[in-house]
C-alpha cells in the first residue's frame, strides 16, 4: 500500500528540530525502518514528518566516564561494526546482527528502536540489562532517564512532548550474552534474552515476553541455575502469541536461561 499524504521537513539543527516537532501532528523520522512501513500500511497518519537524520551531532559513538555514549542516529550496521561498541558494550554488538537484515540495518537507528519501544525489539532489552541511561534532549537542555523507568507500556516510553532521544549511555560490564529465538533469521523474536554480569551480579532482561522489556529480577539474583529456572516464572508471565502459548514461551525463556547461565557465572 501507499503512505497517506504528509508534509516533510528536514531539520538543519537541533534547535530547528525542537521548533518543528511542536507543530500539530508532527512525528520524528530517523531511520524510518519501522515508521515508513507503518505509514505504508496506513497504521500511522502524521501531518508532518521531521527528518532528523541530518543532525550529525546525534550520530557519534564516544567513550565517556559513565560508559559508552551512542548517539541516537547511530545505525544498527554502525553499532555492529564499531570497535568501541565491541570493546565497551559487546552486548549491543552481539544484538545488532539479530535485527532484521543488512539493508535494514544500514538505515535503522538506535534512537529509533528505543523511542518506538517495540516489545520484541533487541535494544530496549539490552538497555534494561545494561542499566543504560537514555538521554533526552529538549529546548533547555537534557533529561536523563534510566532504562528501567524509560519503557512504560506497549510502544510507550517516558519521552515527553518536545523531547528528542539524543542517545544512550551504556556502562561497561565484564560479561554479556545475547540470545534470540526466531522462526527465521531477522523475524520478530519469539523470546529473547539480554544478560550481563560483573562484580555486582547478574542482570538478565527478556524481550518478546510482555508489553515492555522485562527485567528478570528473581532469576538474576538466583545462586544456581536450578533455582533461577524455578523462579523465572515469577519474573515472566508471557502472553501467548499466534503460534506460541504462554507456557511454551516460558519454557523457551528457560531454555535461553540455561544457555546463558555459564557465560553469566564466574569461572570456577
Amino acid at each position: 500500500m501507499k503512505a497517506p499524504a504528509f508534509a516533510y521537513a528536514k531539520a538543519r539543527s537541533l534547535a530547528e528540530a525542537f521548533e518543528l516537532i511542536e507543530r500539530p501532528g508532527a512525528r520524528i523520522l530517523a531511520g524510518g525502518q519501522s515508521l515508513i512501513p507503518s505509514l505504508n500500511m496506513r497504521l500511522a497518519a502524521p501531518e508532518l514528518l521531521v527528518d532528523i537524520t541530518g543532525l550529525k551531532d546525534l550520530r557519534s559513538i564516544d567513550l565517556r566516564p559513565g560508559g559508552l555514549r551512542i548517539g541516537a542516529l547511530a545505525t544498527h550496521a554502525e553499532i555492529e561494526k564499531s570497535d568501541q561498541v565491541a570493546k565497551y558494550a559487546p552486548l549491543l554488538a552481539q544484538a545488532a546482527p539479530h535485527i532484521a537484515h543488512p539493508a535494514i540495518r544500514n538505515r535503522g537507528t538506535l534512537g529509533g528502536s528505543l523511542a518506538l519501544a517495540d516489545p520484541a525489539a533487541e535494544y530496549p532489552a539490552c538497555a534494561v540489562a545494561l542499566n543504560a541511561t537514555i538521554v533526552l534532549a529538549h529546548r533547555r537542555g537534557e533529561r536523563r532517564v534510566p532504562a528501567s523507568k524509560f519503557f512504560k507500556a506497549l510502544f510507550e516510553t517516558d519521552i515527553r512532548p518536545g523531547e528528542i532521544v539524543a542517545g544512550a549511555e551504556f556502562p561497561k560490564v565484564e560479561r554479556s550474552v545475547f540470545l534470540e529465538l526466531t522462526r527465521r533469521h531477522g523475524d520478530y523474536a519469539i523470546v529473547g534474552l539480554a544478560g550481563v554480569a560483573d562484580a555486582s551480579g547478574r542482570r538478565i532482561a527478556y524481550f518478546g515476553v510482555g508489553a515492555t522489556p522485562v527485567f528478570a529480577e528473581n532469576a538474576s539474583r538466583a545462586v544456581s541455575l536450578n533455582t533461577a529456572l524455578e523462579v523465572l516464572g515469577r519474573d515472566l508471565q508471557p502472553a501467548a502469541d499466534l503460534y506460541h502459548s504462554s507456557a511454551t514461551k516460558l519454557h523457551l525463556a528457560k531454555v535461553l536461561l540455561s544457555r546463558a547461565w555459564n557465560t553469566l557465572s564466574k569461572p570456577h
Binding site: K2, Y8, I36, M41, I104, R107, G186
Partner: protein, 157 residues
Amino acid sequence: MEHAVETTLTVNGVQVTRRIAPRVHLVDFLRDELGLTGSHIGCEHGVCGACTVRVNGEIVRGCLMLAVQADGCKVETIEGLSDSKELERLQRAFHEHNALQCGFCTPGMLLAAQDLVRSGAKPTRDEIRAHISGNYCRCTGYQAIVDAIEETINGKG
C-alpha cells in the same frame, strides 16, 4: 498539507532534480518518475527485499526510504550496476546456475549479493544465506542462488 519538496539526487551517475511529494517512496520515484522499473515492489513494508537499491554505497530497502530523503544522495539501481558491468560475474553465475526462474526477486537479490561480494569477505554458505535472508525468492529454493554467490566469491560452485 502535503507540499512537493525539490529534491536533487544522482541516479546511476546522472543528476536529477524533481519536485517530489513527501509520501512517495524511493522505488516508486525510480519506477514512475524516472522509468527505472528494474527495482521491483513486492511487499512495500520491508520484508521481501525486491526493492533493494544502493544509496551512498550501502544497500537499503527502497520502499522504506522516502524519495525526498534521497536529496543529495547517490542512488544506484540494477540498471546502472548492469550497465557498468559491476554485476557481470554475479549475473553470469546466476545464469549458469539457473539461480532464477521468474526473475522478480533477481534485481534485489543481485544487489544484496554484490554487497557481500564487494565486502571482500570469504563467507561460508551459512553466512551467504544470512546476508540474503532479507531477500525472498519464491521459485528457486535458494540453493542455486547460494551456489552462484559462492562461485562468484570463492570460485567454486
